[in-house]
Symmetry: C2
Subunit: 316 residues, 2 copies
């Protein structure tokens, strides 16, 4: 069996997984992120031990432990280099767990982990080169090259959300202006709609759906308004699709994957969204003489975190 952990700023999800990719048992605990990292890691240890006990097995049945977390990971040294949501800098997460359990521990970025799960059991199964994009509050990505996770020479690659593709009216958290995620994440859509509502005093069904409160505006409301033909809703979705298409055409022109899979909250807009995206990307291909990567919805949803993490060991 394998242990897979999806470590987030709000919850820690952990599960025991068999070699066929079935989650046998899982649990979720609160991260309580404001604490010292040692306490958080201690809770993860207890969580694993409880899962093993509840399933009637022991640590001897475990081959390896894999963890996905939002940020940059030095998987070779077992360190979390940088993780904004957890306020972690150079935390020896892997080192501590490895010492405790005496089992190999693997770390990777959470979007990369989900991309690996999709490539083993989901939307990009049997495909050598693929890119997974998760679009939610930010944009995460996982790159698979030759069936293996690719994250570069200094653990800094696969940050497609921080590809600069234009000029925006606000700066990205990373300090640069124009990052893909500032145009195409749920946060970006909300910021743009509110900016237009406030600055240009536009009347829009978005505000009605949000019961008149700007703080209630979310991506679902914007998509719903767009589907009903609301002008600002349509404009906000069009803008998001336009920039996401630029991001995807850039990915095609650089990595030329066989499939680009899209997950995360925004992907819940489903076929309506994928159809528009494909049409827009199709206009920008370099030459009609060849096939380009297909754009599809991711298949595994939230389970991808535990699943992909569990299989990090067999992907080294």
């Amino acid at each position: 069996m394998l242990v897979g952990i999806d470590l987030g700023g709000t919850t820690i999800k952990a599960g025991l997984v068999d070699q066929e990719g079935r989650i046998l048992i899982q649990s979720s605990i609160d991260t309580k992120v404001s604490r010292d990292y040692r306490l958080i890691i201690e809770d993860m240890q207890k969580q694993i031990e409880k899962l093993l006990k509840d399933y009637g097995s022991s640590i001897d049945d475990i081959e390896s432990i894999g963890i996905g977390a939002p940020g940059l990971m030095n998987y070779k040294r077992g360190y979390v280099i940088y993780c904004t949501n957890l306020f972690w800098n150079n935390v020896p997460l892997g080192v501590i767990l490895q010492e405790h359990f005496k089992k190999p521990v693997y770390l990777e970025n959470d979007a990369t982990v989900a991309g690996l799960a999709e490539s083993l059991f989901g939307s990009t199964r049997n495909v050598a080169n693929s890119v997974f994009l998760t679009i939610g509050t930010g944009i995460g990505s996982g790159i698979i090259v030759n069936h293996k996770v690719y994250s570069g020479s200094h653990f800094a690659g696969s940050e497609i959300g921080h590809m600069i593709i234009g000029n925006n009216f606000y700066k990205c958290n990373c300090g640069n202006n124009g990052c893909l995620e500032t145009f195409t994440s749920a946060t970006a859509m909300i910021k743009y709609a509110i900016y237009r509502l406030e600055k240009d005093k536009i009347k829009s069904g978005i505000l009605d759906k949000a019961e008149g409160k700007l703080e209630n505006v979310n991506a679902k409301i914007i998509f719903d308004a767009a589907k009903e033909g609301d002008q600002l809703g349509t404009e906000t979705v069009d803008r998001m699709v336009k920039y996401l298409s630029i991001g995807i055409i850039n990915v095609c022109n650089i990595l030329d994957p066989e499939i680009i899979a899209i997950g995360g909250g925004v992907s819940k807009a489903g076929d309506y969204f994928i159809k528009r995206l494909k049409a827009e990307v199709g206009k920008m291909f370099f030459t009609p003489n060849i096939k380009y990567g297909d754009i599809v919805l991711a298949q595994l949803g939230n389970e991808a975190g535990i699943l992909g993490a569990a299989f990090l060991g067999s992907n080294v």
Copy 2:
């Protein structure tokens, strides 16, 4: 021995290369590009046969033939998919040569070929993951992943010059607006300087150096003017460096190579140029907690074409 061919719109350079990467003999003939492709390929055959004769050897001494050309290549089927400079579409270049010489023939994009040469014998030697950018009339690129050429699932990858990074005042040949090469190639610099000279009637040392004729403006003149403190020269170089930095930071955030090597005509601006580029890229890194790819000048110059092509066979 190996045969390496650098097929361009103006000349065809071919050479015999030994296993240590020494060019034993080489020649250059005019492409005479307006002819039927069959005649051009016939000339390539004669060129190879003459090289073999002049070197006192025969086709039996040859292991394989490799060709780099500007465009997209289907190396699996031996076709040039698309090559603007040669006006070629789906030309069976590899098929014809393979039939004629009864030896394996390998095709790749010319910038990819040069990137391979740099990774075997030049600036990115011994490095697993690297990116080569050649900046001249356009921008070509070669991606090396795990010591091997990476060009994607449909032969369409490694076109970093067509990464969209902003809005420009003119469209790219590929049909899109905002491609990296429309901001940072020699052509882009010339277009921008002329645009400002014409539109804004700016007085500039650039025009003096060009003897008052816009058609004489070139990248060297612009760099020379900038070095002397000319305002438009400086502005044009700054703009080029700014957008090239965006291109490079995007490459770092996606591929995170160990080294980014820069070749082509514009790289002749040398250390002056690389120093400014490094300073600008350095400002945009995601986190100070890790090392990022180093930016260096390519080392092999024009020989990279023949050399890299010759070694395509051993890179499959």
